[in-house]
Amino acid sequence: MLVIDNLKVAINGKNILKGISLKIRPGEIHAIMGPNGSGKSTLAAVLAGRELGVVTGGTVTYYGKNLLEMAAEDRAKEGIFLGFQYPIEIPGVSMVNFMKTAVNEHRKHKGLDPLSASDFLKLMREKKELVEIDSKLANRSVNEGFSGGEKKKNEIFQMAMLEPKLAILDETDSGLDIDALRIVANGVNKIKRADNSFIVITHYQRLLDYIVPDVVHVLYDGRIVKTAGKELALELEEKGYDWIKKEVENNILV
């Protein structure tokens, strides 16, 4: 569904992504790990259409279409969802209004009629239960005054509402307590179907205990320097990133 080929991105003249290639097929779960500042969030944002820097090379194809040419909202409606590392607060815009607009835009895109108010509220209720999000949160402004954990759960809730084909979760597990982590992981598993895919960006094996990846990539200094099965995550958890860094440096020397 998604083919990233030698993607290069520069921000303010600095090369951040230095040639990333990645292939994701329907139903796959990919984990991306890597030290802070290696470019994980940049990759996620570029896939979702945030105009951060300039793409200086490479291509991204999504279901045969040139993804990089599409507007952010069109990517969303085509099924790409980004769970933000730092969800944005939007004072004054209620969650209900926000989600209703988003859901109906998705429906319009699929040629469906907008949901009636009552159907929409029913859907909200269902999904809230699904992801065990506190029903009060839905009555407030988008992310305003939410705690870190509440914001992350809210991202999962939105994902459940929008039913994406490809969900990119950027450190959705960071800063969560054990219960919240379980809620997030269960949410993901409930939404998981045979044909939708995930890119899970994380630092911790503990999330991957719940969401078992098919492939684990290590992103370092703007490159994917290692790709392996789920056991790689365990190894990283144990040994940290230093050995990877060394390996990379050695390779460069060689």
């Binding site: 979702a48 259409g49 945030r50 105009e51 507007a71 952010a72 909202e73 990517r75 969303a76 409606k77 969802f81 980004l82 933000f84 969800p87 944005i88 939007i90 004072p91 004054g92 815009v93 209004n97 926000f98 989600m99 607009t101 988003a102 835009e105 998705h106 895109h109 402004s141 988008v142 939105q158 929008l162």
Partner: protein, 452 residues
């Protein structure tokens, strides 16, 4: 003394030509203020941009114009205005309609509602309740800087009088609708006096509309007295056309432990200037001054706010937000003055503005003047655009850019609206703002008047 400007001279002439007629239809007590106010106006004149408080507003566009007549009602006008009175059955507000500043019913201009509240013509009230009017009229509208307040005192002959007796809690808000409707370009002034006695609660909605296309100039003064332990909310919704100029001066005087809020929602208008003066005259009083303005085309919207902490342990809040499109211009001039003995003061002020185009312009001048030390005061002002990050967040959920912008502007505006305490009214205002942002606004959904 400097010579009187040409523009000011127009109004001196207008006064001289009409003063006999004005005195003829007004009560003697109100007439007794005119000569002095006229002298003061002669001294101060129509404010120019040299006046620090009018630095960003050029009034001449509207003041340097020959208003063929000072509006004086005749019977036929009242008959016409009565057409606008419709049944208020499905409206949760009690209502009054003013036509060009006059109370448009010939008989029964002053009513008492079952709850004891008096509402009606100020002129009638001056005759019927001389003690009340003498105690409050002209006491709060004090200024050494703004000649227009004195021009109003010199010439206004009627307006709304509201009296909320001690201990009366009025659940239903009262709505005053100011209509401007005339065949020719007119200048009109009205004068309101609102008295909320001790332990009372009262909400007033003032809606400003224009019904015919002429060039109109309105210069209105409202004085409000808020007694001990009372609550008073004033909501002003302005929806006038692009060739109308609306100038309002609102003076709110508060006693001990009272809470008063003013909310100016400017949806539309050619040139709008709202001056709101809050005087915290008793201990532990709280005042809130809110404002929202949405400008486009050639509109100019200026909000001037003065909050004076005259007593200890009072709290004040100011929040003004503006969105400016096309070549619209905006100004904000907010002042907090803390007098030497007003210890324990908490005062906040914020003004945020969004410019949507290259040609829109905003000038803001928040000010703090503090003469006491046990105070916490802060102010902030920003001028900027819609936030890119937020825009992207909405787009990443599939919302198109246009819609996302409207949503963000709405969210921006809602912060002001959410301070309206009556839920139904808050929702209506949200609706109106949304329509305005989408460019669909034709009339106010909450209005009892079916204006075009």
């Amino acid at each position: 003394m400097s010579a009187v400007s040409e523009v000011t001279a127009r109004y001196l002439n207008l006064y001289n030509d009409n003063i006999d007629r004005i005195n003829g239809i007004s009560s003697p007590y109100i007439n007794s203020f005119r000569q002095k106010a006229f002298e003061k106006f002669t001294e101060l004149g129509v404010p120019t941009r040299k006046n620090e408080d009018y630095k960003y507003t050029n009034l001449n566009v509207f003041f340097d114009h020959d208003y063929r007549s000072l509006f004086m009602p005749v019977e036929a006008d009242f008959a016409k205005a009565d057409e606008f009175r419709c049944d208020v059955a499905d409206l949760d507000a009690q209502g009054i309609v003013l036509l060009n500043g006059f109370y448009p019913t010939l008989n029964g201009k002053l009513h008492q509602f079952p709850n004891g509240v008096w509402i009606g013509s100020l002129n009638e009230a001056a005759v019927r309740f001389p003690d009340l009017v003498e105690k409050h009229y002209g006491k709060y509208a004090q200024t050494d800087k703004d000649g227009l307040v004195h021009l109003n005192t010199a010439m206004a002959s009627d307006g709304v009088f509201i009296y909320v007796p001690e201990g009366v809690v009025v659940a239903q808000p009262v709505q005053v609708v100011n209509l401007v409707h005339a065949e020719e370009d007119i200048f009109n002034q009205h004068r309101n006096l609102i008295i909320v006695e001790k332990n009372a609660e009262f909400t007033l909605i003032i809606c400003d509309h224009t019904l015919s296309p002429g060039k109109f100039l309105t210069n209105a003064v409202t004085e409000a007295y808020v007694g001990e332990n009372s609550h008073f909310d004033l909501i002003r919704v302005q929806n006038e056309h692009n060739t109308a100029c609306k100038i309002t001066h609102t003076f709110i005087h508060q006693e001990k432990n009272s809470v008063a809020s003013s909310n100016n929602l400017t949806l539309h208008g050619g040139l709008v200037r709202n001056s709101t003066y809050h005087n915290l005259g008793g201990e532990r009083a709280e005042s809130n001054s809110y404002g929202l303005f949405l400008g486009d085309k050639f509109q100019h919207i200026d909000n001037f706010v003065s909050v004076v902490h005259s007593s200890p342990n009072c709290t004040s809040n100011q929040l003004f937000k503006g969105v400016l499109d096309d070549v619209a211009t905006g100004a904000f001039n907010g002042r907090i003055l803390v007098r030497p003995d007003a210890q324990g003061t908490l005062a906040y002020q914020r003004n945020n503005n969004i410019l949507l185009t290259d040609d829109a312009k905003m000038d803001t001048k928040p000010q703090l003047e503090i003469y006491a030390d046990d105070v916490k005061c802060s102010h902030g002002a920003t001028i900027g655009q819609l936030d890119d990050e937020s825009l992207f967040y909405l787009q990443s959920r599939g919302i198109n850019k246009r819609e996302a912008r409207v949503m963000l502007m709405f969210g921006f505006a809602h912060e002001v609206i959410q301070n309206i305490k009556i839920e139904a009214l808050r929702e209506r205002m949200d609706n109106l703002v949304m329509q305005r942002l989408r460019g669909e606004l034709s009339r106010c959904a909450s209005c009892m008047v079916k204006c075009g």
